[in-house]
């Protein structure tokens, strides 16, 4: 007899699932600005948050939305904003503030065609590098790329957990198509969902320093009102939180921001491998394209071609070692992406000389299809 907790099965749109995942993940503050194709997230948050004692606010612009969630997070709430390409560009400066001051927050970017206003209603994957390096200066950041409505729900919850555990912005990227896709999902019972809260500084810790890394390398957070009366600044700061010009303190601060995630890769990295064990041709793809690749790989296998799929779910930090292990026996890798070639550079630098790396790109506002990928697999297999 099954003792599994009850799940709720329903048909949900990707953007709706994102909002529901955020609520389930503990989000209690949302600030946003209307932008296609992400607006449904704000709309759903606006109706969900009051019922759970949370706050929704539509701000005057994208920049203000990003700033407001940082203020609310420093106040102690779990926070989120959602946007698309142009808005994501506008958020980069305050995203940098979140990086530098280590403010937990979740940013959703429903990707549309770019550059500029581009193609508001059409899918793209052109924000992979902006998500990684959009804000200036060296830093680590977590970027997740769910590929289905169910995964959007689960990864949004996980995004909050990662943001809180590692005091970092977490960006979720998915394509317009997935955002507006409606799929049947099984929502888990709330009591089965793992929730991670940030570590607060003990109110009675008189020696507390707001940027001294804890035993896990992550500094505890001062809760305003708890008596720590700390300073937070986007200026490069020492462990005491105050600006510093000392080279050794600057180096330590920047080392920390660049490398703080590395000891925790086992908790951060997630990826899916399909038919990888003996694969000669590996497709690397994320999101919607990975789903096309999954079908292409199955069709190739049915034709006797040893094809496999590597799908980063955590895009950044890039799951380098798992990919390298997979590529060791493979002769060729196809990087399929709906941009002019962004991820391919990352794959190329990890693939090794033995492996041929080929890009499969589409920049016409249309999704890459299974048959396109299959054709590419067949060409490489016959080479």
């Amino acid at each position: 007899m099954s003792t599994e907790p009850a799940t709720t099965t329903q048909n949900l749109e990707g953007n709706e699932a994102c909002a529901l995942g955020a609520i389930a993940g503990g989000c209690r503050f949302y600030a946003g600005y209307p932008i296609t194709p992400s607006s449904e997230i704000a709309e759903r948050m606006a109706s969900e948050l009051p019922g759970v004692g949370g706050v929704f606010i539509q701000m005057e612009d994208e920049i203000a939305s990003m700033a407001a969630i940082l203020g609310a997070s420093m106040g102690g709430l779990k926070v989120m904003t959602a946007t698309s390409g142009p808005g994501f560009s506008l958020k980069q400066e305050n995203l940098g503030l979140a990086v530098a001051t280590e403010i937990p927050c979740v940013i959703i970017d429903v990707m549309r065609g770019g550059p500029s206003t581009g193609l508001p209603t059409r899918p793209a994957q052109g924000d992979y590098m902006q998500a990684r390096w959009g804000t200036h200066g060296d830093h680590a950041i977590i970027v997740l790329t769910p590929a289905s409505v169910a995964e959007i729900y689960a990864q949004t919850i996980r995004a909050f957990n990662l943001a809180e555990a590692f005091r970092t912005p977490v960006v979720i990227l998915y394509e317009e198509t997935i955002g507006h896709l409606r799929e049947t999902v099984d929502l888990p019972a709330p009591e089965t969902i793992e929730i991670i809260d940030r570590q607060w500084a003990a109110p009675d810790d008189r020696n507390f320093l707001p940027y001294r890394p804890g035993t896990d390398g992550i500094p505890a957070m001062p809760r305003p009102g708890d008596g720590h009366r700390t300073h937070m600044t986007g200026l490069t700061h020492g462990e005491d939180g105050f600006p510093t010009q000392k080279p050794e303190a600057i180096a330590a601060a920047n080392r920390h921001l660049s490398h703080k995630l590395e000891p925790h890769l086992d908790r951060i990295e997630q990826f899916e491998i399909v038919a990888g064990e003996d694969a000669e041709v590996i497709v690397v793809a994320c999101g919607l394209v990975a789903r096309a690749a999954k079908r292409a790989v199955a069709k190739a296998r049915a034709k006797g071609i040893r094809a496999g799929l590597f799908r980063p779910i955590t895009l950044w930090p890039f799951p380098t070692l798992p990919l390298q292990a997979l590529l060791q026996p493979a002769g060729a890798v196809i990087v399929a992406e709906m941009n002019a070639g962004q991820l391919i550079a990352e794959v190329e630098r990890h693939a090794g000389d033995h492996c041929r790396v080929v890009g499969l790109n589409r920049i016409d506002g249309e999704a890459i299809t299974p048959s396109q990928i299959l054709q590419q697999i067949e060409e490489l297999a016959n080479d």
Partner: protein, 278 residues
């Protein structure tokens, strides 16, 4: 029952003394404004633990760090937006924004307009020294006509921004202006703004002696603040001089005080009326 007299205001009790000496130039008015703010905080009995100061970028942005409170030094122009999130998340905090003419009126102008419109219970102290001091003295939205700055080498011809008129027009519940020379009056104005249940916008006419004053031969700090005093027209004179014969005179004191719904309270009432609230 008699109340114990309020302890005397000792500014050191509110400062992070280990950060002294401060970085402000000799003669800068920002320190006086900070003193007036902390004096008002003291008189209102706002504890340092409950005080949150959010500031942006520029000379004004740096003085928040000297306060022994919960201090947040954010991005250029964005302190009001950050403070909006902080205040909504933590209504128990007394949230004060310290900003400057460039931070608040240029890069952050949109946030000011909408902070005024929402009327969330935040106090915004804008230090107006007519110039971008931190970056070396460039023209700002409040630079007076014909003044020289590093980016108006031929003199400024652009119109100046009346920040208080903007704030009032955008709906701020409380608007005031004061010069630094009248420190007790500035303290009282800030005190009234802090106590006001809504968005309080207070413009402090500060002076940048080292860069702006020097470039324009405005004299030393004492001379600069005295000329500010000469230009000021306190609101107590309003009744006797309704139409100033010198229209460029600087109105000071409480310029607007309206009974408007405070944002968070209005939100709460709205949700309660729908039965949709905790």
């Amino acid at each position: 029952m008699t109340e114990a007299p309020a302890p005397e205001f000792v500014i050191r009790e509110y400062l992070r003394e280990h950060l002294m000496p401060h970085f402000l130039c000799p003669g800068c008015g920002h320190g006086i404004a900070l003193r007036a703010l902390l004096w008002a905080v003291h008189e209102l009995g706002i504890t340092k633990d409950r005080l949150a100061i959010v500031s942006g970028i520029g000379c004004s942005g740096r003085i928040g760090a000297y306060v022994d409170a919960n201090t947040f030094h954010v991005t250029h122009g964005r302190p009001l937006a950050f403070a909006t999130g902080l205040k909504l998340a933590r209504p128990d905090l007394e949230v004060v924004v310290i900003t400057g003419d460039g931070d608040c009126l240029a890069i952050g102008g949109n946030h000011l307009i909408h902070a005024c419109r929402r009327n969330l219970n935040i106090t915004c102290m804008m230090l107006n020294n007519e110039v971008y001091g931190m970056t070396g003295g460039q023209v700002s939205p409040t630079t007076s006509n014909s003044r020289y700055t590093t980016t108006t080498p031929l003199g400024n011809f652009e119109p100046t921004f009346d920040a208080c008129a903007l704030a009032e027009g955008a709906g701020a519940g409380f608007v005031g202006r004061e010069i630094t020379l009248q420190t007790p009056a500035l303290k009282n104005l800030l005190r009234e703004g802090l106590a006001y249940p809504g968005f309080a916008f207070i413009e402090v006419i500060s002076d940048c002696t080292e860069i702006y004053g020097r470039k324009n031969d405005l004299g030393n700090s004492a001379e600069m603040v005295l000329s500010q005093k000469a230009a000021a027209r306190p609101d107590v004179y309003t009744n006797s001089v309704d139409r100033p014969f010198r229209p460029n005179q600087l109105r000071t004191g409480v310029l607007a005080r309206k009974d408007r719904p405070e944002y968070a309270a209005a939100r709460q009432r709205h949700l309660q009326s729908l039965g949709n609230v905790e």
